[in-house]
């Protein structure tokens, strides 16, 4: 309502709902002899980025085994089979690139 040129404005924002917290998975003590999946989401330019990641990760973490996987579908489509494989075979995974 307006009184003497003063406006009380209602809140236009949508309502935030409670957010359930999901704790992160425990980290690895080290990456020696671990299998680390590198999941490429397939954004433009990601091939070169993952070429670089594979090279430098292998140099920095020579005892780890890196497995490169590229999504077959677009970056926004879920691929349950891919994630099932990652869950089954990987000790950790890197995903990207988000842009």
């Amino acid at each position: 309502m307006t009184i003497n040129g003063v406006y009380d404005a209602l809140n236009p924002k949508g309502i935030k709902l409670p957010v359930r917290l999901f704790p992160l998975s425990p980290r690895l003590a080290d990456l020696d002899h671990k299998t680390i999946y590198m999941v490429d989401l397939g954004k433009p330019g990601s091939d070169t980025a993952f070429d670089a990641l594979e090279k430098y990760c292998s140099e920095l973490m020579p005892e780890a085994k890196f497995v490169r996987k590229k999504k077959k579908l677009t970056y926004f489509a879920d691929e349950p089979d891919l994630w099932a494989e990652v869950k089954e075979k990987a000790d950790a995974f890197i995903f990207g690139v988000y842009d």
Binding site: A9, K13, I15, P18, V19, R27, A29, A52, A92, F95
Partner: protein
């Protein structure tokens, strides 16, 4: 999934990533690099990744913090019903400061105005419509009405805006305006409501001048901002944006069209009121090759342009310059490479009104249209370009 992970991305998306983590309740670990990968040189990408890899290793091995191990629920803070009270200027300043406008002045959404707006619908104010991307905020009829008041809508427009918002909710996977490409939502209105609420379906329908057309599109944008949490630079990372993001709501001119209306084509009855939302984008890919492929084609479509304004993102200008294209060299390249056959060019019905009538006589066209070693039937589009380049030399 129960195994540690780390995301790798671009710094420009850090705020968006942070928001996504809060929204999903997951304190995911991420490592970001300064530049976009697309269009970057291999050397630069490799250099950036070399810098990022130690952070990736740390993200997978450093023990979790207390924050990262938390469970339970985060309760949102209570939001006041009256957000701010003040003079017109104070309310404007507040709404602008807290990113609740499109940058233009708003009508303060007072209780009286919102109550009046709600007379435009039979839906109860507290009816929940659903959740809207990108922040999945809960939306009520009243919240839509508040944004409709802000946009300058009349109550009779509210059914259209509610339908637009319901479309956003129902098809959330298809609302691309949070993309890194500057996308636009175009809303097409069909049915008797177009005329009932005074929409302009004739001359200048897409331009300024009609309150219904202008404010309903604007209300849709304000709903994206306030009910979806959309904001440029935060979760909408289209590098340049687009003027049609302010408002783009148009009625189909069913009365003059020779074809069946769009909503009838889609199975609705002609006397049903329907709003359809299309999401689209334009522009060039962010690489030099993409520019070379796409720019001449776009220039050809711009009414045989003699002068064209090309807006280039600074990051793309850097990429193009690295390949040797100064601004001048780019203009010269475009002049040399924006070509078509004379026959195709002459078939444009627009041109003969403005050109020397001798054009079209076999083999006649000014020398400026053809230089260098083009095939005899091919011309360059853009007659004034050589003169401009000569002035700039």
């Amino acid at each position: 999934m129960g195994i540690p992970s780390v995301g790798v991305g671009v710094q420009a998306f850090d705020e968006s990533a942070k928001d996504a983590k809060m929204k999903e309740g997951v304190q995911a670990r991420t490592v970001s690099v300064p530049y976009n990968y697309f269009g970057e040189t291999k050397d630069r990408i490799f250099a950036e990744m070399r810098e990022a890899v130690p952070g990736i290793k740390m993200a997978l091995t450093i023990p979790l913090t207390e924050e990262e191990m938390k469970t339970g629920e985060i309760q949102p803070p209570d939001e006041p019903e009256i957000l701010v009270g003040g003079t017109l200027e104070e309310v404007q300043e507040y709404f602008h400061h807290f990113r609740m406008t499109d940058g233009l002045p708003i009508i303060p959404p007072t209780r009286d105005r919102v109550s009046e707006m709600l007379k435009g619908t039979s839906h109860a104010p507290d009816e929940i419509l659903g959740l809207i991307r990108p922040e999945f905020l809960q939306v009520s009829v009243e919240k839509v009405a508040i944004n409709a008041v802000m946009a300058g809508c009349n109550p009779e427009y509210l059914p259209v805006i509610l339908a637009i918002v319901e479309g956003y909710i129902e098809h959330d996977a298809e609302m691309w305006i949070v993309s890194a490409t500057s996308m636009v939502n175009f809303h097409l209105v069909n049915g008797p409501i177009r005329n009932a609420i005074g929409m302009n379906r004739g001359v200048g329908a897409q331009g300024p001048g009609n309150q219904a057309n202008a404010t309903m599109g604007r209300a849709a944008t304000l709903c994206n901002i306030n009910l979806g949490g959309w904001w440029p630079g935060k979760n909408c990372l289209g590098t340049q944006g687009h003027p049609a993001q302010y408002t783009f709501c148009v009625p189909e001119n069913e009365e003059l069209s020779a074809w069946e209306p769009f909503h009838v084509e889609r199975g609705y009855k002609s006397d049903e009121n329907v709003v359809s939302t299309f999401t689209e984008f334009g522009g060039f890919y962010g690489s030099c090759e993409g520019m070379r492929q796409a720019m001449p084609k776009s220039l050809l479509s711009v009414q045989r342009c003699n002068q064209a304004a090309i807006l280039i993102d600074p990051s793309l200008s850097e990429i193009i310059l690295r390949e040797g294209y100064t601004k001048r060299k780019l203009k010269e390249w475009l002049w040399e490479n924006t070509t078509e056959t004379f026959e195709s060019w002459w078939q444009d019905p627009f041109l003969p009104n403005f050109l020397d009538k001798r054009f079209g006589e076999p083999g006649y066209w000014p020398k400026t249209y053809q230089r260098g070693n083009l095939p005899p039937d091919t011309i360059r589009v853009g007659t004034l370009v050589p003169k401009q380049l000569a002035k700039e030399a």
